[in-house]
């Protein structure tokens, strides 16, 4: 009797586990497929064979420049930024148990953006130093929002409202600095307002890969504690989680990864905010959402950038496309949360 129910329990767990991994595998395949598509199909079509030869380092007349210099850096950066936004966003949403608590809503992305703009335009900085500056500023904003909203512990709603206020303030700082920039091109300005991977260079990938390894690794190592936090802070503590220490680790990891990506691509609108809920809708809430959400982030940025370049009339930076997707969802969420008081 007992062994019968035990077998049913084991079987059920394995079935749900297999389903989860199948769906995550499917997402991975989709990311790779769109990645391959963006390498071979653009203004002109490059045969897959030629793409492969370029990737292997051969010199293919007519393809080496298009694929190697234009499309590859752009696609690589899109994937890395998407993974970063997806991972950092969902970590925040889960930690605070609220889909509105995403770093792009509560001011962390705008903090990193403002710092990057400040460093580039007013201090004349370049390369990895900008990322470091953005990460430090992102952490600063996170601490500020956290500090301003804590009174006998941090309430999620208060933190979100404070964050929205801080975010609005920082947006105006960005606008001010951009207005001071001499001969600043419109396209570059767009990057700091909505985010884009225009003019990507392969060298920019390195700081992002590093950030993903360090900060992403930190987040993934806390994945189990994060899952326990979804049951409520008290329940998590009763299960042996050091709630405050875990929170600090998650904030460092998520802010680090989001700010690093923002320093390079700008705050690609709503990717951090959308990835987690989309991933949850697809794989459910039985397992950790960190990796599914990262993959959805990569999909959103890759597909959004591709659509912005080739599928829509005119050309738009990726942030415009993801922004158009995200805004209706934000409205829906605010209406729904207002009605039910629900959480992610």
């Amino acid at each position: 009797m007992t062994s019968l129910t035990l077998n049913a329990i084991i079987e059920g767990r394995q079935r749900r586990g297999r389903r989860h991994f199948r769906l995550v595998g499917l997402m991975l395949v989709l990311v790779l497929a769109i990645f391959a598509l963006t390498l071979s199909v653009g203004q002109s079509i490059t045969p897959p064979g030629d793409v492969l030869r370029v990737l292997l380092g051969e010199n293919v007349p007519g393809a080496t420049f298009t694929v190697g210099q234009l499309r590859l850096p752009r696609a690589v950066l899109a994937v890395l930024a998407g993974l970063s936004f997806g991972l950092g966003g969902v970590a925040f949403q889960i930690m605070l148990r609220n889909p509105l608590a995403s770093p792009d809503i509560i001011g962390i992305s705008s903090g990193a953006s403002a710092a990057a703009v400040f460093a580039i335009i007013l201090l004349g900085m370049k390369g990895p130093m900008v990322s470091v500056f953005a990460v430090v500023a992102g952490l600063g904003v996170a601490l500020l929002v956290y500090g301003l909203s804590s009174r006998n512990g941090v309430a999620g709603t208060r933190l979100i409202l404070v964050g929205i206020g801080v975010s609005a303030m920082l947006e105006s700082v960005i606008a001010y600095i951009l207005s001071q920039a001499p001969a600043w091109s419109l396209q570059e300005a767009m990057r700091w307002l909505t985010g884009s991977v225009n003019g990507a260079q392969i060298g920019q990938a390195l700081p992002l890969v590093l950030a993903l390894v360090v900060f992403g690794g930190l987040l993934l190592s806390r994945s189990r504690d994060l899952e326990a936090l979804r049951l409520g802070d008290d329940t998590a503590a009763a299960l042996g989680v050091r709630v405050n220490a875990t929170r600090i680790m998650i904030i460092i990891g998520a802010v680090g990864i989001i700010a690093s990506a923002t320093a390079i691509t700008g705050p690609i609108a709503f990717v951090a905010f959308l990835s987690g809920p989309i991933a949850a809708r697809i794989v459910g809430n039985n397992r950790s959402l960190l990796i599914p959400s990262a993959l959805i982030g990569a999909l959103l940025v890759l597909a959004g950038d591709y659509a912005g370049q080739f599928l829509l009339p005119g050309r738009y930076p990726v942030g415009v496309v993801t922004g158009a997707l995200g805004a209706p969802y934000l409205i829906y969420l605010i209406v729904r949360v207002n009605r039910t008081g629900g959480s992610l």
Binding site: T5, A8, I9, R224, R230, T235, A238, N285
Partner: protein
């Protein structure tokens, strides 16, 4: 099974500057059911939170087997002492079996894989709470009573020998309240689990407690056998309420009947004093 002692001594605790518990001493009898009752805001929940490491005391200490719980690593503590808080949150769409599995958290670490032992603990927890047939259902679809059994199942999967519960019967109708309390009593009898819970209903408290603790203004008022503790004087002191105590013919335990100002059998309602 080892028997664990849980005691609080000279405990003062609260939130920020406000002190809610005030120099409180309490010893939980091992292997028994202890029920804590008291008026709103008397510090019942704060006491439970402090005794389970959720809150750090300002002064005094909580000892589990003679060792301060606030100096025990949380994961180690969570293998001996479990707590079911008042309003745990179920992630949207999570299935019962997966939620109950989360009780295994303190038994796992970053590198350990899910083992047969974990599955067995989940099986035992589902069986004990009679929720095996719900295992594959989403928690959202369950009734309040079923949901409470799932949360208790999660606490059971944690396999702690001391279990604290903060108002496990709130929001349940009377039949589900009795069901939950029967279930906890079964666990206490079959496994010797030490159960400590906060309850609102005095009569259910007196019915199910081996040891009844009454609290007022952050201190213990009296504690002991329900027959000795639940008296008209206690109710007057703790709740500021006039009452009559009679004996329940079924259980032999005391029952408290409140005396209000209306509906007296004499037909003579007590008039409120005129200002």
């Amino acid at each position: 099974m080892t028997v664990h002692t849980l005691t609080a001594s000279g405990l003062s605790a609260g939130y920020g500057e406000t002190e809610i518990l005030n120099d409180l001493d309490l010893a939980i009898p091992p292997g028994k059911i202890t029920v804590i009752v008291g008026a709103n805001a008397c510090g019942k929940s704060t006491l439970l939170r402090t005794m389970s490491r959720l809150l750090t005391p300002h002064r005094g200490q909580v000892l589990l087997d003679g060792k301060s719980i606030h100096k025990t690593p949380p994961r180690e503590l969570a293998r001996t002492l479990g707590l079911l808080p008042q309003s745990p949150i179920a992630p949207e769409g999570i299935t019962v079996a997966d939620l109950v599995s989360r009780g295994r958290h303190p038994h796992q670490n970053l590198f350990s894989r899910w083992t047969r032992k974990d599955d067995e603990a989940v099986d035992v927890a589902l069986t004990a709470t009679k929720t095996v047939e719900l295992a594959d259902r989403p928690v959202d679809e369950l009734s309040g009573g079923q949901r409470q059994r799932i949360w208790i199942a999660m606490a059971l999967a944690q396999e702690t020998e001391v279990l604290l519960l903060d108002e496990p019967t709130t929001f349940l109708d009377i039949s589900h309240q009795v069901e939950v309390l029967d279930l906890l009593t079964d666990l206490n009898h079959s496994r010797g689990t030490t159960v400590v819970m906060v309850l609102h209903d005095l009569n259910l408290a007196a019915r199910y407690a081996d040891h009844l603790v009454t609290m007022t203004e952050g201190r213990i008022h009296v504690s002991g056998r329900p027959e000795d503790v639940l008296t008209e004087a206690t109710v007057r002191h703790v709740f500021g309420l006039e009452s009559r105590i009679i004996i329940d013919p079924t259980s032999g335990r005391p029952i408290m009947l409140p005396i209000g100002r209306h509906r007296m059998a004499t037909g003579q309602d007590v008039k409120e004093d005129q200002p």
